[in-house]
Amino acid sequence: MGRVGPMGRLARAGPALGSAALTGVVRLWRVPRWRGRTGADRDPAAPARWEVVTVDRPPEQVLPDGRWPEPLRRLDGAVEVRVRAAPGDRGTELAARPMAGATPPTGLAAHLVGDDPHLLVRRTLRQVKQRVEAGEVLRADRSALDRPEVRG
C-alpha cells in the first residue's frame, strides 16, 4: 500500500508514511463517530459518500512518491482515499471519505468545520488541488472585522 497503482486504474492509496512519522496532528479520536451525512431517511450504518475533486495534473504530481499530499496527510486515520487518472487527460480524480469508526478532529479543525466531517474533507481536497495547481492556498482579504485597528 502507499504507492499509487497503475495509471488509469482505480487505486486505493494509504499514506506512505506511518502516522507516527507524520505531523502529530492526527489524534486518536473517540466520540462522536463519523458517519455519512445523516438524514431522517438515510441508513446511519451506510458508508459515507465520497467527496471528489479533479486535479489537473497527472497522479504522480498529485501524489509524489505515491504519498498523500498535504494537507490530506493530516487526516490519516480519519479518511479513506481513492485515486485514479481522469479520462481525457484531465489529470487525477482524488476522492476521500470519512472512515467509519473514526472520530472527527479536535482543536482548530473541529472548530472550523462544526460537526460536518464532509466539509473538512471537501476543504482539504480543495486545498490539495489549489496547492498542486496554483502553488498556494488562496487566503481571503483580511476583513475589517479581523482587524481591531479599523477606524470608522
Binding site: 488562496l138 482579504d141 479599523v150
Partner: protein, 378 residues
C-alpha cells in the same frame, strides 16, 4: 487608506479602512490611479446581494502602479503601471489552461463553504462580496491583487490611463461577446444595451468584420455615442418596432448574432420584473436568424419566465452566456489600444475624485447627465 464602501441599499460612503497587505506569495499591492463604475455594480448598490456587508469596497475595474510584490511573483516589479482584470484566476487549473479564466477553480479563498454545490464556483472578482468569493475592489487608494502574474497586465507606454482602464473588464467583455457569437466578416450583429459593455461589443463586432452592427437602447446619448465611436446603427426602442427594424436591416433573415448586454432590470414594486417592455433576451431569441447565436452577458436575474425555448429548438439557435470575461484577451486589447484600433476614453464621461464616489454612482445609476462610466481618481 480611503476607500468607497457600500453602507446600505443606495448608500455609499468614502471611509478610512485598513491598508491591504500581501496575503499570498503570488500577490501584489497596487496603488490605484483610476477606477470605474460598472453595470454589474448596480444590483450591489441597490442592496440586492444578500452577501454584501457594510464596509465592503466596490470597484471591479481599476488601473494603477505596483508598489509591493510577493515572493512568488515573476512578471511584475514595483513601479509597473498595470491594468488588473476584473476576474481573479489562478492560471494553473484546467479551466485557466483552456483560457476560461472566468471559470477558474482556485479563485475562492474558501470554496468549500461558498460553494455548497461543490465544484460550481466561478472565478473570484474584485469589488464583490467576500462571502461570494470576492476581493476588496478598486475604488480605493490600494488594492491587493492575488495571482498577479495572471491577472495584472503591464500597460504599454503609448496607452494612457483613461484608455487602458477599460481593458480591465468592459473591453474584454465586448471582445468575448464577439468571440462567443463567432462573429464573421459580413455578419449582421444586433446588441441590446448601449452601456460601455454594449458599445465595446459593437466595436469588437466591427473589428471581427461585421458588415452591420445595430445597437438597441432607450438612451439617446448612449445610442449617439455608439454610432459615433463604434459605427453602430442606433435603434431607440421607445420609438421603433425593434423586431421589424432588425428584420428589415438584415434582408428579412434576422441578425446572425444577437448580444444581450443590458444588466438586470430593477425589480418592480411587487418584487417581480418590470413588464413595460419585453425582456431583452426574449426579444433577441425571437429576432435571431435560423441557426444564429444569442449571447447573454452579465448579471441577469437567476430565472427568467416565459423564455421562448421553442424558438431556440425550432430555429436551431445556439445560446451562450458569460458573466465575466476571461483574461487571455487583455494583452491583445492593450496592443489594439496602442495602435488606436480600440479607443475607449470617451466612455469615461465623468471624471471625479474618489471622495465624490457616492455622487459618481448616483449619476451612473440614474444615467443622468449622459453618464456612461464614472471614473474615480484617489
Amino acid at each position: 487608506m480611503r476607500a468607497l464602501c457600500w453602507v446600505a441599499a443606495d448608500e455609499l460612503a468614502v471611509r478610512e479602512v485598513p491598508d491591504p497587505e500581501l496575503r499570498n506569495e503570488r500577490d501584489v499591492i497596487v496603488r490605484v490611479r483610476r477606477s470605474a463604475t460598472c453595470g454589474g455594480d448596480l444590483p450591489l448598490l441597490a442592496g440586492r446581494d444578500p452577501l454584501l456587508r457594510a464596509g465592503d469596497v466596490l470597484g471591479a475595474e481599476f488601473l494603477g502602479e505596483v508598489v509591493e510584490v510577493g515572493p512568488g511573483v515573476r512578471r511584475h516589479r514595483t513601479g509597473d503601471r498595470v491594468v488588473v482584470g476584473a476576474s481573479v484566476a489562478c492560471g494553473g487549473c484546467w479551466y485557466c489552461r483552456q483560457g476560461l479564466h472566468s471559470c477558474c477553480d482556485n479563485a475562492h479563498a474558501d470554496p468549500a463553504s461558498v460553494d455548497p454545490d461543490w465544484g460550481r464556483s466561478d472565478a473570484g472578482c474584485f469589488g464583490r462580496p467576500r462571502a461570494a468569493g470576492g476581493f476588496a475592489g478598486g475604488h480605493a487608494e490600494y488594492v491587493r491583487v492575488p495571482y498577479a502574474d495572471v491577472g495584472a497586465f503591464r500597460v504599454p507606454d503609448a496607452v494612457d490611463d483613461d484608455r487602458a482602464l477599460f481593458a480591465a473588464d468592459a473591453a474584454p467583455t465586448g471582445w468575448l461577446a464577439a468571440e462567443l457569437g463567432a462573429v464573421r466578416p459580413g455578419d449582421v450583429v444586433a446588441i441590446w444595451g448601449a452601456g460601455a459593455v454594449g458599445q465595446l461589443t459593437a466595436r469588437a463586432a466591427v473589428l471581427h468584420g461585421a458588415a452591420r452592427v445595430l445597437v438597441v437602447d432607450r438612451h439617446e446619448d448612449r445610442l449617439r455615442m455608439a454610432e459615433r465611436h463604434s459605427g453602430a446603427e442606433p435603434l431607440d426602442y421607445r420609438r421603433t418596432d425593434v423586431a421589424a427594424e432588425l428584420r428589415d436591416r438584415s434582408g428579412g433573415r434576422g441578425p446572425d448574432v444577437c448580444v444581450v448586454a443590458v444588466g438586470a432590470p430593477p425589480p418592480d414594486r411587487f418584487g417581480g420584473r418590470s413588464v413595460d417592455r419585453p425582456d431583452a433576451s426574449r426579444e433577441a431569441v425571437h429576432a435571431c436568424r435560423k441557426g444564429g447565436v444569442v449571447v447573454v452577458l452579465g448579471a441577469t436575474d437567476g430565472f427568467v419566465d416565459a423564455f421562448p425555448l421553442g424558438a431556440v429548438t425550432d430555429r436551431r439557435l445556439t445560446l451562450r452566456g458569460a458573466r465575466r470575461p476571461d483574461l487571455r484577451d487583455v494583452p491583445m486589447l492593450l496592443d489594439r489600444m496602442a495602435r488606436d484600433e480600440l479607443r475607449t476614453e470617451h466612455l469615461a464621461t465623468h471624471r471625479l475624485p474618489l471622495e465624490h464616489g457616492p455622487q459618481g454612482y448616483e449619476l451612473f445609476r440614474d444615467r443622468a447627465d449622459g453618464c456612461v462610466r464614472a471614473v474615480f481618481t484617489p
